[in-house]
Amino acid sequence: MIRFSLVLAAKDLWLLLRGGAAFAQALLLGLLLIFLFSLAASGEEAVGGSGAAVIFWLASAFCQTLIFTALYAVEEGQGQRLGLLLAPVPVQALWLGKALAGLAVLALLQLVFLIALAVFLGRSPEAFPIQGGAMLALADIGIAASGSLLGALARGRGARESLCSILLFPLLIPLLLGAVRVSSMVLAEAPNPALTAALGGEIRSWMELAAAFDAIFLAAALVLFPFVYGEEG
């Protein structure tokens, strides 16, 4: 199953990056958000860690909607979905493959967004690098797990981007809240030693929440995906 998922993810990444349209669309959307935010903030005092964190995760969430609809759209043009369903693996392997591809693309986009934050907003990671990285990974896993499920749900529907956004964003709120809060500490100026311990405790509790939501999204996706993408009624 894992091998099949990796093969599917590699094919999707190749198609997405070679075709370029969906990837470029997502990248430009994210960069535009950061750039516009920087214009809005110019002339006043420098953008704080919270502002930078909000715009970073907003860009990530919007882009992920575009990426997952594109990932599932490639299986619709010539009936490829039926061929994948006939493969000798559980149908969840398709979900995992799409989630892995989406996760890789999201990580790539976020790398660019981090550079854009430094360039346009003058914000770069200052503190808690390990916890920040772990929180980023936890939030991305949750976004990819739910995005892959909801991308499948929205496939073949006219307004799939809208449908995916409507379904995805409310579910992601707790995860994004935690990610924004932790990222704002990472992007803020390094706290004094007295504060570090207190903030470290808060980061841990947000990470626990994120891990719990990841577990829920993963379990829900594994259970629901066959009904969403497998045999039709």
Partner: protein, 227 residues
């Protein structure tokens, strides 16, 4: 290998299939015939496990990955080359393919000179031949064919028929949905059985298709629709 018992399917109020029994044994070729809207493609999708029947049972005695499906849609990625498409679909079969399996398959499908061309530039016939190659890599035990000959020239149709019959010789069960008069004319000669659907109901299932020339009239002239 495949058995359907009392299969019924509705889409909303519309009755598509009514109490269908069907069987396909190893090394057999069954033509599935009927007018537009008779329910042939739905029946094929139920056989393949893509659609759930509302009533009845589908019994498949097949290994994992033992079903192949070839329809009008080729299941190929137009942005990938012929070789890349075969490589991807070959990896999804779960079988360990010999090192030269892909070039050999391209040769067999008469597509070797186009191995590195994007499939989006292929003609209909070339795409369908490549799709057949994709299918053969998996060596299916049950092959479902949903009018794959549509839009093919004589040479591509002959290649399709040659490969499909070769699969049958190797023990695969074939179920072929067709509307094509040319394919129909072969039914009496090569098919082991012909199943005719009329308005969602099985009209006949004969294992001596040579004796059922009248079926062509039924399939060609009866209006479809399963209301």
């Amino acid at each position: 290998m495949l058995r359907l018992e009392g299969v019924t399917k509705r889409y909303g109020e519309r009755l598509i299939l009514r109490d269908i029994d069907f069987h396909a044994a190893a090394a057999s070729l069954t033509y599935l015939a009927g007018a537009n809207g008779a329910g042939k493609s739905t029946l094929l999708r139920i056989m393949g496990g893509f659609t759930r029947p509302d009533q009845g049972r589908v019994i498949r005695n097949l290994p994992p990955g033992g079903i192949g499906y070839l329809g009008y849609e080729t299941m190929l990625y137009p942005e990938l080359t012929a070789l890349e498409n075969l490589a991807f679909w070959g990896k999804t079969t779960g079988r360990r393919l010999p090192k030269n399996a892909l070039p050999t398959m391209l040769e067999r499908m008469e597509l070797a000179p186009f191995a590195h061309d994007a499939v989006g530039t292929f003609s209909r016939g070339m795409s369908q031949r490549l799709s057949l190659g994709r299918l053969l890599l998996g060596r299916p035990r049950l092959l479902l064919l949903d009018e794959p000959e549509t839009g093919l020239d004589a040479a591509s149709r002959a290649l399709l028929l040659r490969e499909v019959l070769h699969l049958r010789q190797e023990g695969a069960a074939l179920v072929w949905v067709t509307h094509s008069p040319e394919t129909w004319s072969l039914a009496g000669e090569i098919a082991g059985a012909v199943c005719v659907l009329l308005k969602g109901k099985r009209l006949s299932f004969t294992e001596r298709p040579g004796e059922c020339g009248w079926l062509r009239t039924v399939c060609g002239e009866q209006a479809g629709g399963g209301r």
